[in-house]
Amino acid sequence: MSFLPYVVAVWVCVIGLYGIVTSRHLIHAIICLSVVQSSTYVLLLAIGYRKGYAAPIFIDIPRSTKAVDPVVQALTLTDVVVGGAVTALLLAIAVQLDKHLGTLDPDELDPLRD
């Protein structure tokens, strides 16, 4: 069969990391982080997927119908909310930082280096 969905997950993960590493704008870096996070959605859903199987919702199909894995879907849902919360927090911090410093270029920021 196919290995492709897993390759996609790895690609999305690595390309997102590349974005963070080379980012010249914090908002861009934050979006890249949520790209990295999305790779886990792809992976989780790919693991539970089976072609031809129904969704695990038994309202209008007999209970004996073969359905795809409900657990990975639940995990993905949790993961999405977690990712959203982290992104929201980071964006809020970035906006606040922009108000303080007037820039979001990581190189213009002057953190507590040593």
Partner: protein, 269 residues
Amino acid sequence: MARQAPPRRRPGELSFAGRRRLFVVGAVGLAGLLLWGLAGLPDFSTFTPVYGQVLNRVAVEERSTTDVVTAVNFDYRGFDTLGEEFILFAAVLVLGLLLRALAEERRGKIDDDAPRRHPGKTSDAVRLTTVALVGPTVLLAIYITAHGHLTPGGGFQGGVIAATALLLVYLGGDYAAMRRVRPLTLVTTAKAAGAGGFVLIGLGGLIFAGAFLQNFLPLGQPGHLVAAGTIPLLSLAVGLEVAGGFVLLLSELLDQLLVLRRRRERRSQ
């Protein structure tokens, strides 16, 4: 993106190119490792995890829900959802801090500035459409939340949809109207009540059924609206928290945006 000047570096620090080289070496290794690991998985679309299989078989019976994903989220793995609720809770608390700082910053000047910033640019078509959509959006949110144990949906999805109603008001009406329809105290309270309610239902399970988050209400018939014991209540609690959280989030970011824009305008003058 336009090419920018290479970033400044102090002596001894990694150069931009050096950092990229470092990353490429690491990323090639990481990608190779991940692929090696993933190669050990069963081929795509051939694997049926035993955990999910068992749940697909028993969940409808045991929990009187027809949506097994909801049963997993709110019952079998309800504790994950509790943790996730409080992740959102913590993130939104910080937004509350920022909002309060902002309120002190502008000391009520925003309403005077509001008309100037929105000089009626919105066309009538947009206004009409968005205003007409607000009601149905809220209704949809309630529907999705209430039917979480029957059909795809639940508190997360419903909560997010509810929060988008606020965006519609912002798009179609004006900023001042948006501020009127989101009494922040009420939103904060709803959000915290949702989070606290989830815990209280969990503690109810401990008191009345013997284990935290265990169902202690009548299960009813699968496929009925009033059924599935605690699941719809937990879903409602999550809906409240998510809707409150996202309303706070959106309003905070919009507020910040306006303040920033005002500052930029002033700076450029």
